[in-house]
């Protein structure tokens, strides 16, 4: 049935058992993003560390209230970006953005997006795309701030 194309098991699993949830120290930047139409909110922290080829996403922690889609996509995001170089993680973010803008017609690259390919079905529901992107936009914002602010903390 139609619902199952949106609510893939992967999504429901991440929703019920979110990864990396909760706010942690230390962090370089913290942001608070809201979805103005529905009031969903996420507070997200990013910790970067120095790597051989530039900064690396050392940790992403978050807390927030939101629907299954926004909660699950933030959980999936943390799995994907923690441990990656910032440049590489930003490319994953770009790829996810492209998938979300594909109106259901995208052919996601599983090697890049891993569990996040489960959100392909969500891209057919314009009202839910913002939910799927809430955590990803917050992460991009926080990471940019952390990178600009240097690795101070």
């Amino acid at each position: 049935m139609q619902l199952d194309s949106m609510y893939q098991d992967i999504i429901l699993d991440h929703y019920k058992h979110p990864h990396h949830k909760g706010l942690r120290e230390p962090y370089d930047a913290e942001v608070h993003h809201v979805n103005p139409t529905c009031g969903d909110e996420v507070t997200l922290r990013v910790k970067l560390s120095a790597g051989a080829d530039g900064p690396v996403v050392a940790d992403v922690s978050y807390d927030g209230m939101g629907c299954s889609i926004s909660q699950a996509s933030t959980s999936v995001l943390t799995d994907l970006v923690i441990g990656k170089g910032v440049d590489q993680a930003m490319r994953v973010q770009e790829e996810f953005l492209t998938l979300m803008r594909s109106k259901g017609g995208g052919e996601p690259d599983e090697d890049v997006l891993e569990d996040a390919i489960a959100f392909a079905g969500v891209s057919r529901y314009p009202a839910r795309i913002k939910c799927a992107l809430l955590g990803w936009m917050a992460w991009k914002d926080a990471t940019a701030q952390a990178a600009n602010g240097g690795l101070s903390r």
Binding site: M1, Q2, L3, M6, Y7, L12, T37, C38, G39, D40, E41, M65, G66, C67, S68, I69, Y125, R128, C131
Partner: protein, 424 residues
């Protein structure tokens, strides 16, 4: 409570709404429970607007030809219909706006303009020490214009609270409405809680201290008989698209002597008496407040909508909705883990029900319902302070109108039950 519903037949009503015949989400019949957001439109309204464009289209008040006369008559005819509908003294008390948001902004900006001009506008002047009172259950349209006005003038915004069961908390009314109060603005029927407020009581208290009263009637005018005289208000606004009419037009009713004294809001064509390089004088109300080419076809649509609703009968509509409401409240009460935001008894309450389902986010509830063709709204419904009051970011809202049926209520209840199981 029983209301007279003589001759009302929902099956016949439904035939007037072409959209109710369509299917959604792979062939499911549309169950439209989002009328508090915007109502569907009957054939009578759609036809009136097409006929206007096909036969009478011209600009109003300024065209010196037959079509111009016909268009002007149609537009001004809508004003007469609206005045009659609200029980206004006459049609010069009816100002057309884009929607109720603009109607409220018109009053707020006019009061702001009064604060920097003299003369008759003096009575609308606001400054530090003055107070505007609203309520915690307002739509953002009846919050933000006042916040902005208070920022511009230094006046203070004060709020009526809401009780746990979703009624206006009147316990502090004597302190809240006082000699410093310049304006009290409140919603007649809440777009979230469904609560119908005792507007008359609040209006009398406001008038006793010389304050003005604005009533946001966006959610009441479509559903119950509203007379501006009975409300005891100075300003009443509503929006056409929630009463079977088109988007793009709203109504501000105000007592004529207030419209006479208020400074204009928007400047432009048609709102003037005379324009010179040294300054301008303004037309008489209501034209003083209608700058530029107005939504003419939309006025025609509004006229048709008000006639349509009157013909069906607001008493009958209220009675029908009351039946849907009690059926829905019973059905929801029988579901475990469902909490209603707002009164759980049907007294002084309209057929708009916001609810929470334990452990299922409102977005997810509405998504499951949508998969069954059931259209509801999820979010804060432009009433964020109210949701914060109840400690939640969002709710799911089902809202009923004259074309809904008890079968559709049952579909809603089944859908909510399925959402619970899906996310269990």
């Amino acid at each position: 409570m029983t209301f007279d519903r003589a001759g009302f037949d929902v099956a016949l009503v439904r035939k007037d709404f072409p959209i109710l015949d369509r299917t959604v989400r792979d062939g499911r019949p549309l169950v439209y429970l989002d009328s508090a957001n915007t109502s569907q439109k009957p054939r009578q309204v759609i036809d009136a607007m097409s006929d206007y464009y096909e036969q009478h289209n011209a600009n109003i008040h300024r065209a010196t030809h037959q079509l111009g006369e016909e268009a002007t008559e149609a537009y001004e005819g809508a004003r007469i219909t609206a005045a009659g509908f609200l029980g206004a003294r006459d049609e010069t008390e009816v100002v057309f706006t884009k929607n109720i948001s603009e109607a409220i902004n018109l009053v707020a900006y006019s009061m702001g303009n009064a604060s920097t001009s003299g003369g008759a506008a003096e009575r609308f002047r606001l400054g530090p020490g003055d107070e505007i009172v609203i309520t915690e259950m307002e739509h953002h349209s009846n919050i933000v214009p006042w916040q902005l006005l208070c920022e511009r003038t230094g006046a203070t915004l004060r709020w009526f609270g809401v009780t746990d069961d979703g009624r206006l908390d009147l316990s502090g009314i004597d302190g809240l409405i006082n000699a410093r109060t310049k304006l009290v603005s409140l919603v007649h029927q809440s777009n979230v809680l469904g609560t119908v407020n005792p507007v008359r009581l609040v209006a009398d208290a406001a008038h006793a201290v010389g304050a003005l009263v604005l009533v946001d009637a966006a959610q009441s005018v479509p559903h119950l008989p509203v007379s501006v005289a009975d409300l005891g208000a100075d300003f009443v606004g509503f929006t056409a698209h929630k009463i079977c009419g088109p988007t793009g037009i709203g109504v501000l009713w105000a007592r004529r002597e207030l419209l006479d004294a208020m400074p204009p809001f928007l400047g432009g064509g048609e709102m003037i008496e005379s324009v010179a390089m040294t300054g301008s004088t303004f037309a008489q109300p209501p034209h003083k407040f209608e700058a530029g080419t107005m939504p003419i076809a939309e006025a025609v649509g509004l006229d048709a909508a008000l006639r349509y609703v009157s013909e069906v009968g607001l008493d009958a509509i209220r009675a029908h909705e009351h039946e849907l409401l009690t059926h829905a409240l019973d059905g929801l009460a029988a579901l475990d883990g469902v909490r209603i935001l707002g009164p759980t008894d049907a007294a002084d309450r309209g057929a708009t029900i916001a609810f929470l389902v334990d452990d299922v986010h409102p977005h997810d509830v509405s998504q499951v319902l949508d998969a069954h063709g059931i259209a509801v709204r999820a979010g804060h419904h432009c009433a964020r302070p109210l949701h914060l009051r109840f400690g939640v970011p969002a709710s799911t809202r089902a809202s009923f109108y004259l074309y809904n049926t008890t079968d559709e209520v049952d579909a809603l209840i089944r859908g909510i039950d399925e959402a619970k199981r899906y996310f269990a």
